[in-house]
Amino acid sequence: MKDPIRSGTYSEESTIGCSNVVQTFVAMMSDAWREFLDAKILYLLVSLIAILFFTVLSGRIDPLPSGRAYLDFSATAMSANLDELDLGKLTLTDIAKEHNGSVYWIVSDRAQGEDHPNSSWQVTLNRTYLPLFAQPENAADIQKRFGNIADVKLWNVREVRETTSGFITRIGFQSWQMTVDPGRDLRLLWPNRFTLFQDSLELTSSKGAPLGLEVFILQKLLTTGLGGSILLLISVAVTAAFVPNMVRKGTLELLLVRPIPRWQILLFKYCGSLLLVAALLGLLIFASWLVTGILADIWTPGVLFALPTLLLFFALLLSVSVLTGVITRSVTSAMLVTVAYWALLFIVGQFHNQVIDSRMREANIGRVKPMAIADSLRGSKSKREEPLRPGRKPFYKTTVGRVSEAIYTVLPHTEDLDNSVDRQLMRDYAVAGPFRALVESTDFSWKRGLGFTLGHTAVFLLSACLIFTRRDP
């Protein structure tokens, strides 16, 4: 067979080819892709995501009758001056402290349709007040204030008509006939029953749970929680073999003899692995967004922020795996060191949360603990932050607290990133309570999390490249 490229003798510059960075990158990418596919793990991961998808899709979210409770709550909340108040950090008891001398209540209500969060209502709202301390309110004020509690919007008042006037008003009584439509956040706060497998597995109590909280828990579970962790764990296990397999004797020489810098080989393999996992994470997060959207008809894109966060975290883990792989050339070592590093980050991160929590508790001793609207509606009583028992130090002042804080200072601040996603989701889904108060703490900063994580990743990768470049095969 005749050589199709060139026959005859070689000239001085007869060798074909000239390497190109983009081509090299694409080649290393596709090599990583093949290796990943060969591990058969991709099929497992896609199957897991599919199972998750269909499991969640088998679920039902049914609103429980709660219209009157939310109308009452809106009326009660009008009794307070709620301007500039953040519901995420305050409770009804806090709000009551701001009582301005008026009391509002609902005397009659009638849903236009079923008692669910999409229905409009005909409502009669009464007010009584002390004429010496407060003024009569006009219909425009009521339209503006009813259903708005701090940054939460429960109802929109479509029409309002005052039915009282003259003497009655002057002695401190007013009444309005209103037509109210569901506000932006009503659906999120409305209690719902959540079941899986066509009603056969009930996941909420008989009182239900706010839809926003259900979606938050579901999305967190699927992305930054269990789902993401399983995916990352499997990805760590698979990609831990990439570098040791590449740098083993007999394989490495075949790569190093090519006219490309050594650091490119390592870095491109790293990027290839990262892009692969990015695609899988993207699939998982998109699937989570899609199923919760289909299930609850909530399409807020907040959960998509989990992708850069998880990817950044994986980039860090992969850099540890690559460095260990280059040094030890052992798949087992790369895997174990990476998982151990992950465990260290997790444990120290949890301690860091405890440190922040203990600081907040100490600063808020005697103040009312944060509570969610849904808990308030259920009749939960507000509790005050109690002082520590005598002789007991807050966690952040203990030796364990101090040591874990010192370790956290030098480690990548992945907890900051995790909490940033939670914060976004909680804001999107109007989730309130103690955990919201924690993630809203200014001690967490996504910028710091990003900087630290990227910095550590870069240091690990540079070290790996340096060792790889200088060591004889």
Partner: protein
């Protein structure tokens, strides 16, 4: 010179792998590098490929310092005990290495088809390498080394695990490459094959070149002729110009002529003694029917060198 090595040394800690190697290889030569395990062959090749740095001395490849990209672009390498990534097929692996080498897609495609056919892998190119036999892996390893049409080939045990037909194909392929001006470095323990294939050889021992020269020079040494006549040699026939050793076959005998050692260290025979003997036999009425000059095999030479040095084999 394609390869030029001057006083090359390499130490791994306190272990000396190369102790001052000097070597020159001309273009278009098939050069055999021989030596026992640990003699420094692989280290020498790795230095030439730029995979390992030298401790002292200098080496150039195609008049460029070793290890530069321009030098590396021109070489093909088949390492000993190579382990090809088993998740690839033959085609995908060659595309992978070809892309790293920078070969344009179209050329890569046609070159791959050509090499797979030449090396007997056609029909099995879409199988995962995991399912390949040792011989098939060896052929594929050779294909990747030849893929970018290198000007210098470094092959470590190129026919290891390959069947006799495959070996012949590989030999032919390498000879074909040689005709095009490719310089081939062969590192092998199969001395018979080296003898068949190589133009020149160098024998390394403990990091030093102990013998080098053309294969003809190194193996055409024995001053012994196997001579056969049409009838047994008469008992009265005597000749004092050398030693005559009868064989078991009537009429066949060995003639050991006087030897001398040339300035290069190669033993040369004295052809004059043979002429005189044949003339004397002719006078006795003996007619010549067989004449072969016996040669030293590379293996004999190699073993003798090892014995002289007191190395264990």
């Amino acid at each position: 010179m394609v390869v030029s090595i001057r006083s090359l040394e390499k130490n791994y800690g306190k272990t000396r792998a190369l102790g001052g190697v000097n070597l020159e290889v001309e273009r278009g030569t098939i050069f055999g590098l021989l030596g026992q395990n640990g003699a420094g062959k692989t280290t020498l090749v790795k230095i030439l490929l730029g995979l390992v740095s030298s401790s002292a001395g200098s080496a150039s490849l195609l008049d460029r310092p070793v290890g530069t990209f321009s030098a590396r672009r021109e070489v093909g390498y088949l390492p000993e005990d190579h382990r090809l990534p088993e998740y690839h097929t033959a085609v995908s692996l060659l595309h992978f290495y070809g892309t790293l080498q920078g070969i344009p897609r179209r050329e890569r495609q046609s070159r791959i088809v050509y090499l797979l056919e030449m090396l007997g892998l056609k029909g099995r190119e879409k199988l995962r390498i995991r399912g390949y036999s040792k011989g098939m892996k060896q052929r594929l390893g050779l294909a990747q080394a030849l893929l970018h049409r290198p000007r210098v080939l470094f092959l470590d045990e190129p026919t290891d695990g390959v069947d006799p037909v495959g070996r012949k194909q590989i030999r032919e392929l390498l000879l074909e490459e040689q005709k095009r001006g490719v310089t081939v470095f062969v590192n092998s323990h199969l001395l018979g094959e080296v003898e068949q294939l190589c133009d020149r050889v160098a024998i390394l021992r403990k990091g030093l070149v102990v013998l080098s020269g053309s294969v003809a020079e190194l193996t055409g040494l024995k001053a012994t002729w196997l001579i056969g006549f049409d009838q047994p040699i008469p008992s009265h026939f005597s000749w004092n110009g050398g030693t005559l050793v009868p064989t078991e076959t009537p009429g066949l005998l060995r003639l050991q002529c006087t030897e001398h050692v040339s300035s290069t260290g190669v033993v040369q025979e004295n052809d004059l003694a043979l002429d005189e003997f044949l003339a004397a036999a002719g006078v006795c009425g003996l007619r010549l029917r067989h004449l072969t000059r016996e040669r030293t095999s590379l293996e004999d030479l190699y073993v003798a060198l090892a014995h002289d040095a007191g190395d264990s084999l």
